[in-house]
């Protein structure tokens, strides 16, 4: 076994493919290297530098997401030098914006105590909408970064809430660029980009207009990839966000692509839709209808009981009344006019099982092949 195809990470030797980066090899072998800007399917930018590692013989730490694995390379994923660098990166990010997740005040090593304290201290209105689900917060805790004493810079840009779907909070943006990559390389909508320069840098839509006035089509891919609380749905700002939530994976009910989605449900209401992650056919992507068009499920306009037309008007009825009426009338029409005088329009909206039953009912019970659906419409 030659050395030419092997890399050593933390004193262990691993084989690698020619196209793999240090990060790829490490993650494939379950070695932890933190990432913030890295996005699967997009070209690595190395922007955030949180994934830096030490490479023997290299003058500086290197970004593992953008450095190809090389033969005989010796890598240390979490050396003292690496930890120091990561802590300083995290500290800078925390001080660059509005990160009121209380990481600033924390000086205990007990995570649970820390969380309880935060819940006490922070009013719901002020608490970051992604509290507990923030990669930056996770990293601050992991690397025990205390932001106490660091000056907190005020955000130059106000929060944007003028579109009906999502909130852009520039004060929490760490400029990792994942949203830009998702928009440009994954969805290819090219609606957002980095704008201005230096300390004024901001993620802008078009010529720095509101998303609703830009090329944005509200697919929400950016919300899903944002590692912090800069891009969130309207729901995330509501106080109910701490109510117990269950998550159910299912298939989207709009077009024929069949995206795999995850419904978040609170008190029998769908409150959010996310992609079901990296699984086919959509591999984590959704569109505006799939992500934001779920209100119909809990709509007050839903039909809740059978209706029967009496004296020209549709009136409420029991299931027994309605089912008897349908069964008796269909039986009578079949007897009087023959089976082919009845038609069934089944539906491209209901399940396979239900379509099977609809055509079975038509053929075995009504005894006609007059069954079709809206495939043509």
């Amino acid at each position: 076994m030659g050395n030419e195809t092997h890399i050593t990470i933390d004193n262990k030797r691993f084989a690698f493919e020619p196209s793999e980066t240090i990060l790829d090899v490490a993650h494939r072998n379950n070695i932890f290297i933190p990432t913030l800007c890295h996005l699967k399917g997009a070209t690595p930018t190395g922007a955030c530098r949180i994934c830096v590692v030490e490479v023997e013989g290299a003058p500086n730490l290197v970004a593992s997401c953008a450095t190809p694995a090389a033969a005989n390379m010796v890598v240390y994923s979490e050396s003292q030098e690496v930890i120091t660098a990561r802590r300083s990166i995290i500290r800078l990010m925390l001080s660059s914006g509005h990160h009121n997740c209380a990481i600033r005040d924390f000086d205990t090593k007990d995570w649970t105590q820390f969380q309880l304290k935060v819940l006490e201290v922070d009013g719901t209105q002020d608490l970051c909408p992604v509290w507990g689900e923030c990669k930056l917060q996770d990293l601050a805790y992991r690397y025990q970064v205390k932001a106490q004493g660091l000056p907190q810079s005020e955000s130059k840009y106000p929060m944007e809430r003028v579109n009906p779907f999502m909130i852009r909070d520039f004060s929490r943006c760490i400029l990792c660029g994942r949203c830009v990559q998702a928009c440009r390389d994954i969805q290819v909508n090219n609606a957002i980009d980095f704008g201005y320069r230096g300390a004024d840098t901001k993620i802008i839509a078009g010529t720095d207009v509101a998303l609703k006035d830009s090329d944005c089509v509200f697919c929400g891919e950016c919300i899903e990839v944002c590692p912090v609380g800069a891009l969130v749905t309207e729901h995330a700002m509501k106080p109910e966000r701490f109510v117990k939530t269950k998550k159910i994976r299912t298939t989207c009910s709009y077009c024929g692509v069949g995206c795999q989605i995850e419904l978040s449900v609170q008190n029998n209401r769908i409150i959010q839709v996310n992609s079901a992650g990296d699984t086919p056919p959509n591999n984590g992507s959704l569109c505006v209808k799939g992500r934001f068009g779920f209100d119909f499920v809990g709509s007050p306009e839903r039909l809740t009981s059978p209706l029967i037309r009496k004296n020209g008007k549709l009136e409420g009825a029991t299931w027994d009344e309605a089912l008897d009426l349908v069964a008796n009338t269909l039986t009578q029409i079949k007897k009087d006019h023959g089976s082919d005088s009845i038609g069934m329009l089944t539906s491209a909206r209901v399940t396979n099982e239900e379509n099977y039953i609809a055509q079975k009912f038509t053929r075995a019970v009504l005894k006609t092949n007059n069954v079709d659906h809206c495939a043509r419409l």
Binding site: R302, L303, P306, S347, R349, V365
Partner: protein, 527 residues
């Protein structure tokens, strides 16, 4: 689709026609756009300058209803320049000589005269398509919703076979299904001429198998009425009763004024739905059903992938599972149907459905399977026709161009084409319950080119009356760079200004699909 969605990204050339993919299949469009970004040649052939055209290397603009002509034109060049796949044509196809003879007339100049696409573009596109290692064709309702719909599809199949692009990765003829389970509804025998898995109703052996499983005799052998025929039957009085599950023909049918009369003529109509739709409002009995988030089951997507649907919430009030409602009625009509759950139905279905025979809910718990999947060991079939076609050899169909049923004239000088917008879905019963989607797309509009608007002296945003021989609607005028002179576009979602009051109910003779994509109209400033 003969191929999979992921497969699109492996093509060297992608031809998209009659599909406004970024609005109607947004997630699928990301695969096309990413491919184009990475260097795949994207050809968009569409009467509107749709968003996907901006990602394309070439956008060709045919006149409405001239698809057979440009496809024949491409094949003319490919055969003339000897660019076709001789091995594939010889070994796997038949009918080549007839095809060759028919497309001989379709010189680039002749095609230019019919379609408006320049002769040079026809020649160049033919070369690009034929020279590709693998080329994928994607199409949608812009191809099928014509009186020549079946022939349009056959023509695309001709082009794909001629260039040897069927049965290979990154190739194929790929219809994009517009409804979540339209593929499944077809697979399950929700069609008048076939039982599940396209087993013909006039096939005695197939019927005998179903009779045994269902415990019945005398299953009808005569193919039934299509949806469009049912409307005609209701109109003429031969169809007395109609049972509608989760559909809203009072917005989605062509020539609504005519359809409305037909429905009124029925003795009895039952509508089973989640909302009191325009159609349900006309019913004699309305039955409340579950929506997708309240039920267990499966959907089959556009790439034939069978995937699970899971219950997330309890349904409102006294609503019930669609299959339970139908089972109850069947039982009351003297045919007991007692399924303990939806999975039991799936299991029965797989015993009579060869292409689904190997699929179980357990197998698709995490990732869906592509049918055909004949046995429980079978991995599913992502790409169809790799070794042979269903009928053995692929049949070339020699087809000539035929104009649409209705063309513009002095009284109705504009062409109208219809479709959907990104923010709404079909008849809007679901999407119009979302304030966000309504904010982004609040009302119907008539898309017109800046030239046409100027010529008529109309400003952007004014209200106009749109008239066809069949009806009239009022909507807002929207000047758009998507529109091409002479052709207007109206989305059909909005019941208040239903585009289908205008459309033509003339159908394709085989598929019985209406010509939603072409009719003649006129517009005038609304009073």
């Amino acid at each position: 689709m003969t191929n999979t969605i992921a497969d699109i990204e492996t093509a060297e050339v992608i031809l998209v026609t009659g599909s406004n993919t970024t609005e109607n299949h947004p997630v699928l469009s990301t695969f096309i756009k990413r491919a184009a970004l990475k260097g795949t040649t994207l050809i968009v052939i569409d009467p509107r300058r749709i968003k996907l055209a901006h990602h394309a290397n070439t956008w060709l603009r045919p006149e409405l209803g001239t698809d057979i002509a440009w496809i024949n034109g491409l094949m003319h060049v490919i055969i003339k320049e000897n660019l076709f796949d001789k091995t594939f044509v010889e070994k796997r196809c038949e009918g080549f000589e007839e095809l060759k003879k028919t497309v001989e007339t379709y010189t680039p100049d002749y095609v230019e005269a019919i379609t408006g696409i320049s002769a040079t573009d026809i020649t160049e596109t033919a070369r690009t398509f034929a020279k590709a290692k693998n080329a994928s064709i994607l199409y949608c309702m812009g191809i099928t919703q014509h009186t020549t719909g079946t022939d349009n599809v056959k023509s695309l199949a001709n082009l794909s076979m001629l260039t040897g692009n069927l049965g290979i990765p990154g190739g194929g003829v790929n219809p994009l299904r517009g409804q979540n389970n339209v593929q499944g509804a077809c697979d399950m025998g929700g069609l008048p001429n076939v039982l599940t898995a396209y087993q013909k109703v006039d096939d005695d052996t197939a019927r005998a198998k179903f009779e045994k499983t269902w415990g019945v005799t005398d299953l009808p052998a005569k193919p039934g009425l299509t949806a469009t025929d049912m409307i005609e039957g209701a109109h003429s009085g031969t169809l007395k009763a109609l049972y509608i599950v989760g559909e809203n023909p009072m917005v989605s049918d062509p020539d609504l004024n005519h359809a409305e009369k037909a429905i009124e003529n029925l003795d009895f109509m039952v509508v089973q739905d989640i909302f009191l739709t325009e159609t349900a409002q006309m019913a004699d009995v309305v039955l409340p059903a579950f929506c997708f988030a309240e039920k267990e089951g499966t959907f089959s997507n556009t790439e034939r992938r069978v995937q699970r649907v899971r219950k997330a919430v309890e349904a409102p009030g006294f609503a019930r599972d669609d299959w339970r409602i139908l089972s109850e009625i069947a039982t009351r009509m003297g045919y007991p149907m007692n399924y303990p759950n939806s999975n039991a139905i799936f299991e029965e279905m797989t015993t009579v459905t060869p292409s689904y025979a190997g699929i179980t809910w357990e197998r698709i718990e995490n990732v869906g399977l592509h049918w055909p999947c004949p046995t429980v060991e079978h991995p599913g079939t992502p790409i169809l026709h790799t070794k042979q076609f269903t009928r053995g050899k692929g049949m070339f169909h020699a087809i000539d161009h035929r104009p649409p049923a209705e063309l513009p004239d002095k009284d109705y000088p504009f062409m109208l084409t219809t479709g959907r917008v990104l923010y709404h879905y079909h008849t809007g019963t679901m999407t119009m319950k979302s304030p966000g989607l309504n904010t982004m797309s609040p009302e119907c509009f008539v898309e017109i080119s800046a030239n046409d608007a100027q010529r008529l002296g109309f400003e952007d945003g004014i209200m106009v009356d749109v008239l066809s021989r069949r009806g009239k609607i009022k909507a807002k005028l929207e000047i758009s760079s998507k529109a091409v002179d002479g052709t207007l576009f109206i989305p059909f979602h909005f019941a208040k200004a239903a585009a289908n009051r205008l459309t033509n109910a003339k159908v394709d003779p085989v598929a019985k699909i209406p010509e939603f994509k072409v009719c003649a109209i006129t517009i005038r400033r609304a009073a």
